[in-house]
């Protein structure tokens, strides 16, 4: 047991999740991260778990291990997601189901298990990651966007269900960031999205930690059920 704040971040092998894990570990958080495979990197204050976020038993085991080791969970950043960019007429059911399982059920499982631990101390901060492609209705992203829209609705209702235990729940949607997830998207499609933003640039990892800093601050105890999109998207 220790007095450091304990944070769970999903999808920490690379991209935004890795940035967040390294950032908060450097700042003194005890960070417990996960991905399906090994992280492939190490940092002080960081522990990696090999977990499929859509697997109920694996999620339960990970959160129980974190609670056992530290006696608390203060923050959850549900970042893990899968996307399969494809026209809906060419999207196999298996790919659609996997997106829903990882993006929606996976988010729900971590919220549920972590909230059980947070309730004891009547404190918690949950941030669920969504995307701007839902509100901008980007063609080619129907299932991914639908899954992330579900995350926003889920989070809004979760805020009401968990508020009485001092747990806040918010969503955050970044603009496109040059991660592996969008590396296969044609440049002209990315340019078209960026050109329609109020702030016409790609997102950065720092944009993400800026928003999570706000949501997870102890002072943000009256900020819940909200969604923040970057770049002027509403």
């Amino acid at each position: 047991m220790n007095d450091s704040r304990v944070m769970i971040i999903t999808g920490t092998r690379k991209g935004i999740g890795r940035h967040l894990a390294e950032t908060y570990a450097r700042r003194g958080y005890v960070v417990e991260g996960c991905s399906r495979g090994d992280a492939g990197w190490e940092a002080e204050n960081y522990t990696h778990h090999n977990v499929d976020v859509a697997d109920e038993k694996q999620v339960r085991t990970m959160v129980a291990a974190v609670a056992k080791r530290h006696g608390r969970v203060d923050v959850v950043l549900n970042n893990a997601a899968v996307a399969s960019m494809n026209h809906v007429l060419l999207t196999p059911a298996k790919a659609a189901n996997r997106m829903l399982e990882v993006n929606v059920t996976g988010t729900m499982l971590f919220c549920r298990e972590a909230a059980k631990v947070m309730m004891r101390r009547k404190y918690g901060r949950i941030v669920n990651f969504t995307t701007i492609v839902a509100p901008i209705a980007l063609a080619g992203e129907a299932i991914y966007a639908a899954s992330k829209a579900a995350v926003v609705t889920f989070t809004r209702i979760l805020a009401f269900e968990l508020g009485q235990w001092g747990i806040t729940c918010n969503s955050f949607g970044a603009t496109p960031i040059m991660t592996d997830m969008i590396r296969g998207v044609p440049q002209d499609k990315i340019d078209a999205v960026v050109n329609n933003l109020a702030i016409k640039r790609l997102g950065t990892y720092e944009d993400c930690s800026n928003v999570t800093d706000f949501f997870i601050s102890p002072s943000s105890d009256n900020i819940t059920g909200q969604v923040i999109y970057l770049g002027g998207v509403t």
Partner: protein, 100 residues
């Protein structure tokens, strides 16, 4: 886990929950109603109780169990309806969890 231990855990968690809610009762026994018209808890109180029991099993006994399982939630008669029934459900859930 034997029945007296399960009963002790359920009773202790219910007692804590009622005290935290500012509504302690004099006697808690196997017949004390948890769900239904005569229940000593409201619906949120039941949620807290189930989570408290799961957490106590995990932290104090190293037993991971989900009391609100799909099977439990689809039963005609709630497995949470009285202290005694809930204690039996705790035992069954642990046994089923160990068997799976």
């Amino acid at each position: 886990m034997d029945r007296p231990t399960a009963l002790k855990i359920v009773t202790a968690c219910l007692k804590d929950g009622l005290e935290q809610a500012g509504a302690p009762i004099e006697t808690i026994d196997e017949q004390t109603m948890i769900v239904g018209p005569e229940a000593v808890l409201d619906s949120i109180g039941v949620v807290s109780l189930i989570v408290d029991i799961e957490q106590k099993l995990q932290m104090d006994h190293d037993i991971a169990v989900t009391l609100a399982s799909e099977k439990a939630m689809s039963q005609k008669n709630s497995p949470f309806r009285t202290v005694g029934v809930l204690a039996s459900h705790v035992m069954t859930s642990i046994e089923e969890g160990q068997a799976s």
